[in-house]
Amino acid sequence: MSASATPPMQRDAARTIFQKGAPGRRAFLCPELDVPAVDVGELLPERFRRSRPARLPEVSEPEIVRHYVGISKRNFDLDSGFYPLGSCTMKHNPRLHERVAALPGHARLHPLQDPERAQGALELMWNLQHALSEISGLPHVSLQPSAGSHGELAGVLLTRAYHEDRGETRHKVLTPDTAHGTNPATVTMAGFEVVKLATNADGGIDIEDLRAKADTDVACLMLTNPNTLGLFDPNIAEIAEIVHGVGATLYYDGANLNAVMGLSRPGDMGFDIVHFNLHKSFTQPHGGGGPGAGPIAVSDRMAPFLPVPVVVCRDSERAPQFDLDYDRPKSIGRLRGFQGNYGCFVRAYAYICSLGGDGLRDASETAVLNANYLLARLKQRGVAEHLPLAYGELCMHEFVLSGGPMKRALQIKTLDLAKRLLDFGFHPPTVYFPLLVDEALMVEPTETETKETLDAFADAIAAILEEAAADPELARSAPYSTPVRRLDEVAAAKRPVIHEVLA
């Protein structure tokens, strides 16, 4: 669709709320002043007061609703279509979870309510901790971190505290070159130096490189398993042995947990610390970039250092009494205010209650089945010639294709393929990650998709490659049917305009 064909109502769709409304319009009617009026100047001296009003919008309620409903329609979302974004686990978000999270007993519970009058919330957290402990095979859980990267920070700070407690100062943290970007960024924030590990020909950790770099200055190895290539590292036991052999801890990035729930447990693999992404494996809706939650589970030796407060259960023989324990002398301290993103805990707990242990295993089995089927289906459709699997033969819950041959043979890049997929009504896979794969395309279908959807996606990829063989420009200039077409990101970064100009 060209610009001239844009319907008139859509043409000014990018006008912001600040460009709408008129002086005097309003949506809010203030409750009446029911206490004696006092001059504001008496209550708040002028030098503390705002001298000019904040230029917020002046809009009526119908204008607000129409504005935001209007711009919402310029989003693609999981409820509308397939979203195989690798490493993000875009599985269905059950609406039951929104309903239970909105119950006033959860939604209007103040975080400083006395524990004896928040027993339902603390029991929910206790039960969720137990479930995450069972799923990970690690005995102790803190729900506090706000997202995966925050859980990573917690984990690396725990590692620091653990070594310090033993009177050791270590400076290095190992991360594979396939790691999520949050891993090395976290290492720096926690005051350690990043040392990269090479990947072997099979897509796993290069054991010789690990042996060469693992010494007593290494505090921790951060690993994702299955890794970002969608491969389970078969040498995990040996890796754990090497890492523990030099006294370091082993950290599990739980971004890919959706592959192994009920099938293999990080604790049994030898990991000391795991973070969970409740917004991935456990259905917290992603909200366009949050909220999430990043609880951690740890082994016995890391437990003294967990963040405060910790949920505890007292008098468990009679009626259990739940409480928050702040008296943890070796704790790393607090990572945020209050107890964590409780609203996310409610949703994740509801999900675990719905599925049970068998259902969680079924979810992971189906996620892996769907990924392998999609991979096979792409081969059947003749796609593998241009988009070969980067490593291995089978995959876990996701797989990484290389667009290198496609780029050379058809003159379209992975980015072009991704943009053309938009015209076919699909969210593209993750692109250009992991970094060591040329023109990477990382596909994670999740367990909640039908076989028909997977088939349609494979057909779309095949169709794009076919049309590119005839005319690569079609993909290079895509998309055509989206609310806007390719955007000038270079100009945006060069001269940043990051807020509306206010009148």
Binding site: A54, R74, P104, G120, A376
Partner: protein, 461 residues
């Protein structure tokens, strides 16, 4: 077949055949070594039908005493403000609720425009040039400001006013320990930051100096004087933890010489949710833009010249810069920030002033009425906006229990939160617009009799 998966036995046969394996088990057996495979089922309860899960979660909710169930004056960081219905409706829309971070801008203009509008609102409210699209929440935003300061000036020492929320100080300490930065606390005098101690504490190693406005005890600080004194002492990055809902009436931090404003966004249209999720606001002067943490949306045009928005300045971020990133943040609080900007549009230019003035008046009324009770005195005489501290001549925990028995939660036991000896007997009372004069009068009556009977009990002992 679970209710969230859709693979029938017929599908399964066709899929296995396509893959070239005999069973799903074989896919795992060929990839996961036997010693690290889980031998048996997870020891978790069986799955339940939707309505059973609903009943279970409802039963748990019913065992909590929420702000719906009692007359609550709890605050200290999160507040029971009214959330307009249109926020529920908009945040539950699939288009906002279910997409990922907007990596594909052509199909994410809704989310990106919301981020851009949010940044506009926060920059305007704080009087600072730039805002990111939100961070996790308040106290971790304080810690993030500290990290930004160390990147900016390479110094390794933080000076914090004791008027900062205890959770903020604790969170800053946790983070600072990682990169070996020291945290030095400056005491209060008359419940506001002791200006002499503040100036003395800030030296050439001081990376950032932090204060809260209003502070943890409800007192309005002299923000301009604190900023000027800090700059004069050794030019650290001046960070203010602000409460956005007060900025309709309070001077914006940008007008007071503050470099970075952070804060808890929950009062802006977000639920209490027992502490989260909410969002953290993070705004700064222009010179800090390229060191900001978190996502930032920027304006640009598409190939047809149409206005559009993209994630910008991504070379700050972990997925591009990895170990050189300015922060590790990835998933943040987009949906909560949406609630925040919708709330600000709903309040509007005049509404935020009217609401602020209503809070001022009701809070003043409550403070005077309560402060006049026998055995109760105002902790300080500083100006307050929506929260204030009282000192009770009685055991706070016992008084709170007595009030709770009559359906009133009179506020926060400050010493339980801060751990400070000098906070013994201090009660922190929050007055939102949901608390009417009649509610306040009831608090006066219930707290008054609870304090009186507790004092009698103490005398009798």
């Amino acid at each position: 077949l679970s209710r969230y998966t859709a693979i029938t036995p017929e599908d399964l046969d066709a899929m296995l055949a396509a893959i070239g394996v005999g069973s799903v088990q074989e896919i795992f057996d060929r990839q996961i070594p036997a010693p690290v495979r889980l031998g048996g089922p997870l020891q978790l309860p069986d799955g339940l039908p939707e309505q059973d899960v609903f009943e279970h979660l409802r039963a748990l909710a019913s065992r909590n005493t929420s702000a719906e169930d009692e007359l609550s004056f709890l605050g200290a960081g999160m507040y029971d403000h009214y959330v307009p219905a249109l926020i529920d409706m908009l945040t539950e829309r699939s288009e906002f609720l279910t997409p990922y971070t907007p990596y594909q801008p052509e199909i994410s203009q809704g989310t990106l425009q919301v981020m851009f509008e949010y940044q506009t609102a926060i920059a305007e409210l704080t009087g600072l040039a730039v805002s990111n699209a939100s961070v996790y929440e308040g106290p971790s935003a304080v810690a993030a400001a500290g990290y930004l300061a160390t990147l900016h000036n390479g110094r390794r020492r933080f000076v914090v006013s004791a008027g900062l929320h205890p959770h903020s100080i604790q969170t800053l300490r946790t983070n600072a320990h990682g990169y070996d930065a020291e945290v030095v606390e400056v005491p209060l005098r008359d419940s506001v930051t002791d200006m002499d101690a503040w100036s003395d504490a800030i030296d050439g190693d001081t990376s950032a100096a932090f204060f809260a406005q209003p502070n943890f005890y409800g007192a309005v600080e002299d923000a301009a004087a604190l900023s000027a004194a800090a700059k004069a002492a050794a030019d650290p990055v001046v960070v203010a933890q602000v409460d956005p809902i007060t900025l309709g009436v309070l001077a914006p931090p940008g007008d007071c010489g503050v470099d970075v404003a952070v804060g808890e966004g929950q009062p802006l249209g977000n639920r209490l949710d027992f502490g989260g999720p909410s969002f953290g606001l993070f705004a700064a002067r222009e010179e800090y833009l390229r060191r900001m943490p978190g996502r930032i949306a920027g304006e640009t045009v598409d190939v047809d010249g149409r206005r559009g928005f993209v994630l910008t300045l991504q070379t700050r971020e972990q997925h591009i810069r990895r170990e050189k990133a300015t922060s590790n943040i990835c998933t943040a609080q987009a949906l909560n920030a949406l609630a925040g900007v919708v709330y600000l549009a709903w309040l509007g230019r005049r509404g935020i002033v009217e609401l602020g003035e209503l809070l001022l008046a009701r809070t003043h009324y409550a403070r005077e009425q309560l402060g006049a009770l026998p055995g109760v005195e105002k902790l300080h005489e500083q100006p307050v906006i929506r929260e204030f501290a009282l000192r009770l001549d009685a055991d706070v925990a016992a008084v709170r229990r007595a009030c709770a028995a009559r359906g009133v939660n009179p506020g926060v036991d400050v010493q339980a939160l801060s751990g400070r000896d000098e906070d013994r007997g201090v009660l922190l009372v929050a007055i939102t617009e949901r608390r009417t004069r009649a509610d306040i009068d009831r608090l006066v009556e219930v707290l008054g009799s609870a304090v009186a009977s507790e004092r009698r009990a103490t005398v009798a002992v």
